[in-house]
Symmetry: C2
Amino acid sequence: MSVSTGTRGETVPTAPPGNPAVDTADVAALLERGRALSTPVLRAAVDRLAPPMNTVAAYHFGWIDAHGRPADGDGGKAVRPALALISAEAAGAAPEVGVPGAVAVELVHNFSLLHDDLMDGDEQRRHRDTVWKVHGPAQAILVGDALFALANELLLEIGTVEAGRATRRLTTATRKLIDGQAQDISYEHRERVTVEECLEMEGNKTGALLACAVSIGAVLGGADDRTADKLEEYGYHLGLAFQAIDDLLGIWGDPVATGKQTWSDLRQRKKSLPVVAALAAGGPASERLGELLAADAKSIDFDSFSEEEFATRAALIEEAGGREWTSQEARRQHAVAIEALHEVDLPARVRAQLTALADFVVVRKR
Amino acid sequence: MSVSTGTRGETVPTAPPGNPAVDTADVAALLERGRALSTPVLRAAVDRLAPPMNTVAAYHFGWIDAHGRPADGDGGKAVRPALALISAEAAGAAPEVGVPGAVAVELVHNFSLLHDDLMDGDEQRRHRDTVWKVHGPAQAILVGDALFALANELLLEIGTVEAGRATRRLTTATRKLIDGQAQDISYEHRERVTVEECLEMEGNKTGALLACAVSIGAVLGGADDRTADKLEEYGYHLGLAFQAIDDLLGIWGDPVATGKQTWSDLRQRKKSLPVVAALAAGGPASERLGELLAADAKSIDFDSFSEEEFATRAALIEEAGGREWTSQEARRQHAVAIEALHEVDLPARVRAQLTALADFVVVRKR
């Protein structure tokens, strides 16, 4: 999928054959609309930052390279801005009404990426060195803080009661995001994590902000709390479906498509859903996997493990049922998300768009 | 001055002799009221944080020690909470109306301390090891983020238009705080910083949040924007006076009173007001100081400098007029702060309290 920043893309990818459930062209157009309407506002917001924070942020968003030269980097899938615009339409407002919400959610999302990459020591994101690697830890902290503040500023300067309500929802989501990162860090030091704990953590890290993206446009458009809550319910479960797929791609994804290394999550010893589900399943493969991972946690040679060693672990996860369980979990969460939409009165076109985006999330390859 | 947390103090220090301009007993009572009313709400807010963030935050605030045992640590001078409560009274409201504002400002202040200590590599704060030293950098980042989010949450859950306006002012102040820290970091790498640049940085780092403390209670109490702006003007210049005194104490302060090392700011190579003013003054002492500091910046022995070597630098700063200029600057900013109060209609008692606090700020020894 091509990514354009700042301009409306004229071309969209054509639908791949053999996948009639998702109208890929529609989804691509929705993602592109989200990008086209929100990116100029996002860039103007980042331009408010004092130097060198504006430059560091521009590097993070992929607008310039490490030497300050213009770049056309990968700004991510932009699912959240697309959702925030549809969200405004869910309340009967124009998609443009959702733009400050879309940008605020993107700012919070990227604040968390900047800080998480530093805390986790991750050196690569979107095929490039992370901010703390290029500009140092202090700038990663500072620019993250600035993006978080900017998100609130952008919403609150609208000055309406609705903007206050939207900011409150964004703040709640941000607190959950932080809770999720705290859980993620604490789980790294534990030998066992239950499936429930993993789902709670992923709900906080991914579900809460996606939920906010789906309600924020509607709130800005004047929707009542019940409608906003139901939209958030859809978004929360969509987030869990999204994360389940991410966890599958983190082990079995195609490196060319994802931009990550092979066995990426295994290399990072991530206790993602397939791993946790496989460990909980019991049986010979599950037990063998448990022994291997316990030994890996203490191994000083882990960093020099071969492809084959990771392949062995991935095969055990699959044999113990972790891959199939996670795949089913993505479908379960997808179904719960769609179900939530039935409990709220929505324009037919909005319902179709939210359904198409949910379908996209569970079939995506990157 | 004794510090109590969570309970109203019955005793206040008596006024020192020879200082008729400031009614120390009154100021101590105002500071104590700010602490007594805001600390329980602050503690309840911190209790909302998921483990281990609640524990890490409690350590930072001095409520527990590094082993989790209850402590009665130094929570700081608590000038901001005192101001936020008087601010509510400035709008004719009860001091209690300012409490969420007082707590929100304290949360933002401590968010910035957590992140700044990590960015600056500072190992001690309020006579104790800093959070990143005790709990690691990830917790310092995470808990800082959580306190920032909590500040907005606390205000926005009030749900009124006034709360939205208060949050907007707090957000603006937070952005300035972050700008100031960015400037502070960038100045460290520069040989020369002008007096104007130093004042701008200190206005951002100290003035903006103090200004917000003085307006936030009034805004929550229904004050109009003009009144809030004038109160902020007083607070901003009070912040600059406060920082000028801080810069003096950072070089010539009594270590027993300040809790800092002798020549604290010189050891940290801080380009504080007395240094910058001395370098700008010209003349033999100024030039000699410039040569020494330029050599210090490259010296690999700097960390093992003797008391005498710092004393030489302090004497040159004084000889070049940096100490006297900064002392006058504190008085200038104090006068501008008081001047701003004349342009707004305030209850006589509120005006007297704000004047007493301004006087306290410029005569304090810690």
